[in-house]
C-alpha cells in the first residue's frame, strides 16, 4: 500500500466531527451502516443547511422584493445576501452577475436560449466528448432551432481534453462559444480551464464552464479562469435541491434577452410592450426558490468554514488511497487516467455488469452509481455501455473505501 496510508492530510481533517454534522450518515441500509459514495450525483446535507431552512420557515419567511413589511424585507435581505456570498465564493466581480436558477441544467439552458438568441446561423458552439447531457442537449436543441453548428472537441484515451484538436476546431473563427465541463462527472478529470479560455478568446469565442462537479472540490475563481459563463448546482455542494447558479459577465447578461417572462423580471408592463428589469432580475421570473437560496447560503458558509483547501487535500488523499485499494481488486479496471483527477472514480469489473455491482454493493450498505451517468456519448467513446462510479465528499473516510474495496472482491467471487 502507498505511503498515503500512514500519513497525510486524511488524518489532519477531523472527519468524525464533520460526519456528525450529517445526520443521514448515521442511518443503516439493509442493516448495515450507510457508506455513501454517490456524492457526485448529489451530496448529503449538514445540519447547518437543514436547520437554516427550517429556521427560515419557522421564524422569517415571506415573499420577497415587492413586500414592504418586516418579514418580506428580512427575507429579501437574506435572499439577496446569498447573492453576495455566491459572488464571493466564485470571486465574481459583481453581485449583479449572479443569477439564481433551479440547477446547472437550467443555467445552461438559459445560456443556450438567451445567449443563443444572439447567435447567427453558421456560427458554432463547441462542446467536448465528455459532457454531461446537461451541457449537450441544450446545444443540440439550439442547433436544431437556430441553425447553429455543434462541434465536438475530442478527448484523449486517458480522458483529457485534446487541446490540439480543440485548437483546430477553433481555427476558422466561426466559434461563438466553447462550453466545456470543468470536471468530468464520469472520469473525474479536471479540465485546464484557463488554457481553454485563452484559446477560446484568441479565436474570438466566449467560454462557459460547467462547474457542477468542480466547485464542490476546489476553490473557483471565475476571474482567474478567464471564464465568461460559469454554472453550478446547489445540491452537489451540500445545499438544497431546487437551486443553482449561473454566473456570467455583466456585459453578456445585459445583451441577452430574458429566458422566462413573469413577475419580478420586468420594469414596466403594458399589453403592447414590456421592458425588463436590470440584471440579474431580468433572468429571475416569478417567485424564486427563496428558502433554497437561503439554504445554499448556509451550505456555502459551512463549506467555507471547513475550508476549501482542507477539503481539496482531504479528497485528494482519499482519491489516491482509493486508486491504490481498487488496483488490488482482481478484474477491476479504473476508467480513464486524467492528468488531474478529482474525487470521482468510474470502474468496471470483469464482465460483472455495473448494475449488479451497484445492487450488490447496496445490499452491503454501499451506495454507488451505475449506468451511463448522463454521458451516453462519452460511454460510446469509451466503448462501454455503463460503469460503476464511486465518488467522494467532505464526509468520506478511508474506512468507507476499505468497505468498498473489500465488498467488490466478494462480489467478484460471487459471480466468477
Amino acid at each position: 500500500m502507498s505511503a498515503i496510508l500512514e500519513k497525510g492530510p486524511v488524518h489532519q481533517f477531523d472527519s468524525a466531527a464533520i460526519r456528525q454534522q450529517f445526520p443521514i450518515l448515521a442511518q443503516k441500509v439493509h442493516d448495515r451502516p450507510l457508506v455513501f459514495l454517490d456524492s457526485a450525483a448529489s451530496a448529503q446535507k449538514p445540519n447547518a443547511v437543514i436547520d437554516c431552512m427550517a429556521d427560515t420557515m419557522r421564524t422569517q419567511y415571506a415573499n420577497i422584493h415587492r413586500g414592504l413589511h418586516w418579514m418580506s424585507e428580512r427575507t429579501t435581505e437574506a435572499y439577496e445576501g446569498v447573492r453576495d456570498q455566491v459572488a464571493a465564493f466564485l470571486n465574481a466581480p459583481s453581485r449583479e452577475e449572479i443569477v439564481f436558477t433551479r440547477n446547472s441544467t437550467e443555467a445552461i439552458n438559459l445560456v443556450a436560449y438567451s445567449f443563443g438568441a444572439l447567435l447567427k446561423p453558421g456560427q458554432a458552439v463547441v462542446i467536448s466528448e465528455m459532457e454531461h447531457h446537461a451541457n449537450l442537449v441544450p446545444w443540440q436543441m439550439l442547433r436544431d432551432r437556430a441553425g447553429i453548428e455543434l462541434r465536438i472537441a475530442p478527448i484523449t484515451d486517458e480522458g483529457d481534453l485534446d487541446l490540439d484538436a480543440l485548437q483546430d476546431i477553433l481555427s476558422d473563427g466561426q466559434v461563438a462559444l466553447v462550453a466545456i465541463t470543468h470536471m468530468s462527472n464520469v472520469l473525474g478529470g479536471v479540465t485546464p480551464a484557463r488554457q481553454i479560455a485563452d484559446m477560446a478568446h484568441a479565436a474570438g469565442a466566449q467560454v462557459l464552464f460547467d462547474g457542477s462537479q468542480f466547485v464542490v472540490h476546489r476553490k473557483t475563481d471565475v476571474q482567474a479562469l478567464g471564464a465568461d459563463f460559469y454554472t453550478f448546482t446547489g445540491h452537489k455542494l451540500y445545499g438544497p435541491t431546487g437551486i443553482g447558479i449561473l454566473w456570467a459577465r455583466k456585459a453578456l447578461l445585459d445583451a441577452m434577452p430574458p429566458f422566462m417572462g413573469g413577475g419580478d423580471m420586468i420594469s414596466t408592463v403594458t399589453f403592447e410592450r414590456s421592458t425588463w428589469a436590470h440584471v440579474p432580475h431580468k433572468f429571475e421570473a416569478g417567485t424564486p426558490a427563496i428558502i433554497e437560496a437561503i439554504g445554499l447560503g448556509a451550505a456555502i458558509s459551512w463549506v467555507e468554514k471547513v475550508g476549501m483547501e482542507a477539503i481539496t487535500a482531504h479528497e485528494a488523499a482519499l482519491t489516491s488511497y482509493a486508486l491504490t485499494r481498487l488496483a488490488d481488486v482482481p478484474g477491476l479496471k479504473v476508467i480513464g487516467a486524467p492528468k488531474d483527477r478529482g474525487g470521482v472514480i468510474s470502474f468496471t469489473m470483469d464482465d460483472v455488469h455495473p448494475h449488479d455491482i451497484a445492487t450488490l454493493l447496496d445490499r452491503n450498505g454501499v451506495a454507488v452509481r451505475a449506468g451511463h451517468h448522463c454521458a451516453e456519448p462519452l460511454m460510446r467513446r469509451l466503448g462501454l455501455t455503463a460503469t460503476a462510479r464511486a465518488s467522494f465528499g467532505i464526509y468520506t473516510v478511508q474506512e468507507e473505501i476499505d468497505v468498498l474495496a473489500d465488498t467488490l472482491v466478494r462480489i467478484r467471487n460471487f459471480f466468477v
Partner: protein, 153 residues
C-alpha cells in the same frame, strides 16, 4: 476474503446460475418470430427468437447482453414459455409484471388454465424492493411481446 457477499434475496442461486450459464442462449436457424428489447439507461439488449408449432411455442432462444437479472430473466422466460401457447405465454408475462409491482404481503395472483403459474419465475419476486431494476427483468418480456406482435419476420 472468505466471507461471501450478502446478496440479499435478489440474487437467488437459480438467478446467478442462469446468468453464468444460460441454457437457452443462442440463435435459431430459422426463427419464425423475432423481438428485441433495449434499455437505453444501461445499454442492455436482448433478442428473442421463437419457433412455433401451430399456436404453440416449440423452441425459444435468446441473445442477451445485460446484467445478471436480465440474463437470468431471459433464460428463465425461455424455459417457462416453451410448450405454452401464445395466450398462455402472454398470461405468464402479465402475471410476472403484476408480481413485480405488487406490494409486499399482497396475495399473489393465482394461476388459471389461461395464465399458468409462474413457477421458477417466482425467484424474481425480491425485485419488488429494487424498483429501479425491475426493467432489467422485464426486458426479455418486452422482446417477447414484440416477437409475438409481428406477424412474420
Amino acid at each position: 476474503m472468505t466471507m461471501p457477499v450478502d446478496s440479499g434475496a435478489l440474487y437467488d442461486r437459480l438467478i446467478v446460475q442462469r446468468a453464468r450459464k444460460p441454457l437457452f442462449a443462442g440463435r435459431l436457424e430459422n426463427p419464425e418470430k423475432i423481438g428485441e428489447g433495449k434499455n437505453p439507461l444501461c445499454g442492455d439488449k436482448t433478442r428473442v427468437e421463437l419457433q412455433l408449432d401451430q399456436d404453440h411455442i416449440s423452441l425459444v432462444r435468446h441473445h442477451t447482453r445485460g446484467c445478471a437479472i436480465c440474463l437470468a430473466a431471459a433464460d428463465l422466460m425461455a424455459e417457462r414459455i416453451t410448450g405454452l401457447n401464445i395466450a398462455q405465454a402472454e398470461g405468464v408475462g402479465r402475471q410476472f409484471s403484476a408480481m413485480l409491482v405488487e406490494k409486499d404481503g399482497q396475495p399473489a395472483t393465482s394461476a388459471t388454465a389461461e395464465t399458468p403459474a409462474l413457477e421458477q419465475l417466482e425467484a424474481f419476486a425480491p425485485l419488488r424492493a429494487h424498483r429501479a431494476r425491475i426493467r432489467c427483468a422485464e426486458l426479455p418480456w418486452v422482446a417477447l411481446k414484440e416477437a409475438l406482435s409481428h406477424v412474420d419476420v
